[in-house]
Symmetry: C2
Subunit: 236 residues, 2 copies
């Protein structure tokens, strides 16, 4: 179940219903808190530590196999860098029904917070090299530069993983003007959301944290009345 | 306001509130119908014909400038190939407040319907060459192939615009195995949703219509228990 970026405001009715109708709700602690308003007595609620994604998905599949109705909750969309793929893999040979409930993913929430930077072709790239070799990530960044895509960077930076973001913006800077708009959105669609609008040349990776999305414009993206906008067409 | 893919189930609370609290609701006819359950007496409701996007956005901006609370509604996410960018452009020199309300875009709804194909890096490309020259679209397709992105094709085909989709899959086929999974999702997240799972080699563009999204896997995407899944990492 994708709970959306944070507040109940950006959650869908289907996600809310999946949580309230579940007998077991499983998720990383802060994501479970994100749907605390929906939890009720009689539900088993499992708040997992960060990281343990395989454990969490296995537990969800096991509970479902035991005949219980389970909501495995994620922030954003359940299928984007999230739990749906691993849950489906683990459920492959288990006789259970799995429904993937979509949600507003971080890129969309971040985009809405700063204007409409995803108005035309765009891509999402995760800078986490925990499960993906850096050369594969670099290949994607080079292709995104070549294709002139608007780029949303997920997992741009964390403690101990800090050189990837400057490496990424360097690659994109080689293909785009210095004044290309860049949005840095922390806690998009959550309470305490912070937005910084800057340019490729002025961008300071130091302001980026674990819960930040970075959106880098294409050659068509421009600032319009203080917002970041990518027009739908080139000729309009 | 992004109403999500279709049914009220996949609409966010913020989108619903924006529509119910509006004094004027403006949108392409079928999108206004998508939020008919929220409309009430005392609201002015403008159902626009297809195409007239500039007219529609101008009208919304003019009504807001006249002091009325306006909801300019779109299907999916309001910022993805939709009305937010044009509305922000037209509002640039007008003294009004504009809020972009995100929603579940078609790619996310289509992905959820068939599994979790967007579990890792992915891009969205519109095949409509009404406002974008085909050579720019082709450049994006080649870059997506080079970067091994999962690709969601928006506006893949319409009456009189039918050669672009085979051209696109030919480009991707040159870089990906013949058995790469492809999902064809018509009316994703709407009543009457239809899904076809196939491969690049077997893909039949003839089944694709105006309200279809086509999701083409990366080299990591595979079929798992009848669903299309892109794992989060390569080494897991």
């Amino acid at each position: 179940v994708g709970l959306g970026p944070g507040t109940a405001e950006h959650r869908t009715a289907a996600a809310a219903r999946a949580v309230s109708e579940a007998e077991v709700v499983i998720g990383y602690g802060p994501y479970v808190e994100q749907c605390a308003d929906l939890l009720h007595e009689g539900q088993e609620v499992v708040r997992s530590p960060i990281g343990d994604e395989v454990v969490r998905a296995k537990q969800a599949v096991a509970e479902a196999a035991a005949g219980r109705r389970v909501a495995l909750v994620c922030s954003g969309d359940s299928g984007v860098y999230a739990m749906a793929s691993i849950a489906l893999e683990l459920a492959e040979d288990v006789d259970i029904e799995v429904e993937v409930v979509p949600g507003v993913t971080a890129a969309l929430a971040a985009a809405a917070a700063v204007g409409a930077p995803l108005g035309h072709d765009h891509c999402s790239i995760s800078l986490s090299d925990l499960l993906t070799p850096w050369d594969a990530i670099e290949r994607r960044l080079r292709a995104a530069a070549e294709g002139d895509f608007v780029v949303t960077l997920y997992n741009p930076r964390s403690r101990g993983r800090d050189w990837q973001l400057p490496a990424a913006t360097t690659i994109l800077s080689q293909a785009r003007p210095a004044d290309t708009p860049v949005a840095v959105v922390t806690d998009a669609g959550r309470r305490g959301q912070e937005t910084v609008l800057t340019t490729l040349a002025e961008f300071d990776p130091g302001i980026v944290g674990m819960t930040t999305c970075v959106v880098i414009g294409s050659s068509a993206t421009r600032m319009v009345g203080g917002r970041m906008v990518t027009p739908r067409g080139y000729q309009s």
